[in-house]
């Protein structure tokens, strides 16, 4: 058994510099902050999925008879101005944040990786045009681009996903393109080109496996920024529509009543903060175990 594992790992090592899944997992588990990060993220995913089972009440049901209740009785964390249960809203809040952020981050990273691969493969004027166009998209302040897109297309979840993709694909492309450019002159790519392999084959079979580490770290890192950005949009009133249970929206709704029902503001804050801290720690751990310099990726 052991020898088989070693063989698998050495073949992988000879193709590139990527450590195997097993080694990455071991290195993450050895680091306390990284383990905590992944645990927090997994906990949040579980809470969001299990919300319908564990939430004590309906997150969008108004109770005119029980407005602004302090914690106790049927409302463990109290209620807001419409008498909605804070705990239920907070538990359900992860669904919107996680689903929208995950979908948009995944799309932005996939799209950015494809564009970066094409730019690196063709080089020359194709690369120039792509780089300049993406630079112009990046030059529009992210928040302005998102506000405009939401105003134009409405604030449904699919629009938020689109807006994040528009704003973040450029940054992903920048970083992944740099990694792909490093790989392009390698012998195995030159050999594949000489064999007459097509674009699709070379990008998917030769380039992608060798820049997977950069792509993965990019995903983990962007995810924490996207959660932050999506919640900020909701807070500004350009994201989740009321009465959707969403953390950013909850803070916006309840912050003027902080002196009366502090938990209505503090509960979503704690959930949001722990999720992003978890994502950041997980991204750090992943970057370290894959040997990617995270600060370098931020700078692009």
């Amino acid at each position: 058994m052991t020898s088989a594992t070693i063989v698998v790992e050495t073949t992988q090592a000879s193709r590139g510099t990527l450590p195997g899944l097993r080694r990455v997992t071991r290195s993450i588990l050895r680091s306390k902050p990284a383990t905590l990060g992944f645990a927090l993220v997994i906990l949040h995913i579980l809470l969001a999925i299990l919300a319908p089972l564990i939430a004590p009440g309906n997150p969008t049901e108004n109770n005119p008879a029980a407005v602004l209740q302090l914690p106790g009785g049927p409302f463990p964390l109290g209620t807001d101005t419409l008498g909605r249960d804070i705990l239920s809203r907070t538990l359900y809040g992860g669904q919107y944040a996680l689903a929208v952020s995950f979908a948009s981050t995944a799309l932005a990273v996939i799209l950015g990786t494809v564009i970066a691969g094409l730019a690196a493969f063709y080089g020359g004027w194709v690369d120039q045009v792509i780089t300049r166009l993406l630079d112009s998209v990046l030059a529009v302040p992210a928040i302005l681009a998102m506000l405009v897109l939401v105003t134009v297309f409405g604030s449904g979840p699919e629009v938020i996903v689109l807006a994040v993709v528009v704003v973040y694909t450029g940054g992903v492309t920048r970083v992944v393109r740099a990694a792909a450019m490093d790989v392009m002159p390698k012998d195995y790519i030159v050999a594949a080109r000489a064999r007459g392999e097509g674009v699709f084959y070379i990008l998917s079979r030769e380039v992608f496996p060798n820049i997977l580490d950069v792509v993965l770290v990019e995903f983990a890192m962007r995810a924490s920024w996207v959660v932050l950005l999506v919640s900020s949009l909701s807070f500004l009133g350009f994201g989740a529509n009321p009465p959707t249970p969403d953390w950013g929206l909850m803070v916006a709704e309840n912050r003027s009543l902080m002196a009366v029902v502090p938990l209505a503001t503090l509960a979503p804050i704690v959930f949001l903060a722990t999720l992003i801290v978890g994502l950041n720690l997980a991204a750090d751990g992943l970057a370290k175990s894959l040997g990617v310099d995270r600060m370098k990726e931020i700078l692009g």
């Binding site: 300049r132 166009l133 630079d135 112009s136 998209v137 990046l138 030059a139 529009v140 302040p141 992210a142 928040i143 302005l144 681009a145 506000l147 405009v148 897109l149 105003t151 134009v152 297309f153 924490s224 932050l228 950005l229 919640s231 900020s232 807070f235 500004l236 950013g248 803070v251 916006a252 912050r255 902080m258 002196a259 502090p262 503001t265 804050i269 949001l272 903060a273 992003i276 801290v277 994502l279 950041n280 720690l281 600060m295 931020i298 700078l299």
Partner: protein
């Protein structure tokens, strides 16, 4: 250096700003309804809408309008606000001054503090000051501005009421009138914007401490103060300047949230208001200023990188 390095970049910078403006202009064209219907409301007669559209120049083709806007913009005339009817320039200018003041405090105080904290963390690697500062930086990276601002209001306006929770001075307030309300918005921005700078400074200080010349300097027996000031800080600060430049561009995003929370009359509040009222001339001028900030920060970051790594000065290796 100047012709090879700066001129082509400046050319591209102009193209980038132009394309960015065109993108925003194009996106705004997709809006159902325009400023005319927005101003007159739902119950306006079609004739009134048509007249107003003609007055605002909305009846021309989008391409013509963009070109005419560009022509005027190049001569410094950015049009009149579709909402207030006032020239856009002075209105945005006032907001820009207010924002620049808020951002200026954040950059000067926050960023210097961040550099010092990063230096301390790097020098005390893995001991308690480092753990404390690194944890703070992680929290700063992980908490959105609106949460920091909300918690600061809870702490310093509600629990211990020493700072005002919102700016009450109004849209046309002077800087001196804004001053008393400045601490909380500035603190919120500082906390969030400093996080990456602290981190980068810590990393580069640690890198520099491992180099041969620092070891040599230590063996020569120079004092720690001299070592840090003469050798560590100059080498560690250059890579960090890159992050500082990026952070200035990022500040724009944070400013929008913080200004809207504290009702601070700057570019951020203006941006939200003009998007809500579909005030295209104002939005376009804000885009130009935002894109310029981005481009200038990138140029400065590139320059810093070039000064740091002389190999990049050769045109073939330039990005």
């Amino acid at each position: 250096m100047l012709t090879r390095f700066v001129i082509p970049r400046l050319g591209w910078a102009v193209v980038t700003i132009l394309l960015a403006t065109l993108l925003v202009f194009g996106a705004m064209q997709a809006l159902p309804g325009d400023a005319a219907t927005q101003i007159l409301g739902q119950n306006a007669t079609p004739e009134a809408v048509a007249t107003l559209r003609r007055q605002l120049g909305l009846d021309q083709a989008p391409v013509e309008r963009f070109i005419s806007w560009l022509g005027h913009a190049l001569s410094g005339n950015f049009g009149t606000s579709l909402v207030s009817g006032q020239p856009v320039g002075p209105e945005v200018g006032r907001a820009l001054v207010n924002t620049a003041f808020l951002a200026g405090i954040t950059i000067v105080v926050g960023f210097s503090l961040a550099l010092v904290l990063g230096l301390v963390a790097g020098l005390c690697r893995d001991r308690w000051p480092d753990s404390l500062i690194s944890t703070l930086a992680l929290v700063g990276m992980s908490i959105p501005e609106f949460i920091v601002a909300t918690l600061l209001v809870l702490a310093f306006s509600i629990t211990i009421p020493i700072f005002p929770a919102v700016v009450v001075a109004g849209q046309n307030a002077s800087i001196t009138e804004l001053l008393p309300a400045m601490p909380l918005p500035a603190l919120s921005l500082m906390f969030v914007a400093s996080a990456y700078i602290i981190r980068m400074m810590r990393t580069s200080v640690i890198d520099v401490m491992e180099t041969d010349y620092v070891h040599t300097a230590r063996l020569k027996g120079i004092s720690t103060t001299r070592l840090v000031l003469k050798h560590v800080v100059p080498s560690a600060i250059l890579p960090t300047l890159n992050v500082v430049a990026m952070n200035v561009a990022w500040l724009i995003g944070g400013v929008v949230v913080v200004e809207s929370i504290f009702n601070y009359p700057g570019m951020g509040s203006l941006m939200i208001r003009s998007v809500q009222s579909r005030d295209l001339p104002t939005i376009l001028l804000i885009t130009v200023i935002g894109a310029m900030t981005f481009v200038v920060c990138n140029l400065l970051a590139d320059l810093a990188a070039t000064l740091l790594n002389p190999r990049l000065r050769h045109p073939r290796n330039a990005k």
